[in-house]
Symmetry: C2
Subunit: 175 residues, 2 copies
DNA sequence: TATTGTTATACTCTATAACTATA
DNA sequence: TATAGTTATAGAGTATAACAATA
């Protein structure tokens, strides 16, 4: 349990980290804004998934996800296939072009971070990653929730856990 | 020097921390969005300053700063006095109402963080703050640059260091 | 001429609400 | 009825460019 002053300081740091994010955003290709990059990154990391799952991973409303997905689909970076198990759903997966785009993004981002963080040790970077992961976990972010063995497009959901191994969370943003 | 995979993971964490920031944003009063809160917080932390200095601290373009400042000034939370040393400049300072607003913001934010981070130790929170501070420093954020003893509204600037003890940086966003 | 600050404009991201198609 | 996804609309944040006032 930390002190009040520490919480205020942490809030300031969270506000200020936006400047770092904007720096990273400035090196993105003009046709691939941050929202598109996030979609490609998550599909590359977790593999094919439905819209609702992606919305959970992005931690934004489904309507926002739909827009981002439409953008990358329009550019041929992903495909939206019908889900045979549920005709309302669509399965998203990276195309070869999308994979190439993602590789390019990763290259640019890593290069910038390698430049800016040249005096950081491997352990220091790892520690920051670990603490940020735990921070998101403490805020209930599903991206860091325990993952069950992947069963993509599994047959039936049981109880409160859906077919993709993720405890059901709303994809509509809380008021 | 860290590995490529670590940089990619750090980039993902930076992208994902937006969800935490949005959670914090949801508890702000309706008439005090995040931009206004940042202005109040920085004025509370650093004291009176000019627009250009605030733009540096916010790490956003001066035009953005101008809008945020106008918002909080319209609500009487800050005052903009003419700078006797430079008639182009304006000195910003918190009013009593602004101080009260800031106290309210701090209270709400700390309360949410205390709730979410109830199982974090003081040292863990401190470590995260420390690493995030260094991250911003590595990206050249002036907020974490060494501060010289405060000489508000000092007479003359010398060399490339301005009257407020901060090495001159552009307040126009880099292309 | 250069700098401080303001304003107009445009773009991205996000949320709410209404809608459809399906379950 | 409830859920998956789309679209329209609105609001916040930011950047660029043009501008006025002053240095």
């Amino acid at each position: 349990m930390a002190e009040q002053a520490q919480y205020e300081e942490l809030a300031r740091q969270l506000s200020a980290v936006g400047a770092v994010k904007r720096d990273l955003g400035r090196i993105l290709p003009h046709d691939c804004p941050a929202g598109s990059a996030a979609v490609l990154t998550l599909l590359g990391q977790y593999g094919d998934m439905r819209m609702s799952r992606l919305a959970e991973l992005l931690a934004v409303d489904m309507s926002v996800t739909s827009r981002h997905v439409a953008h990358v689909a329009d550019r041929g970076w992903i495909e939206r296939s019908p889900d045979p198990a549920d005709k309302r759903s669509r399965i998203l997966h990276l195309t070869a072009a999308g994979r190439a785009r993602l590789d390019e993004l990763s290259r640019r981002t890593s290069q910038l971070l390698a430049d800016r963080l040249s005096d950081w040790s491997d352990d220091e970077v790892g520690l920051l990653i670990q603490l940020m992961t735990r921070l998101r976990e403490s805020f209930g972010d599903c991206r860091v929730a325990p993952q069950r063995p992947p069963h993509p497009y599994a047959s039936a959901a049981e109880g409160v856990t859906d077919a993709h191994g993720v405890t059901e969370l709303t994809t509509r943003t809380p008021a």
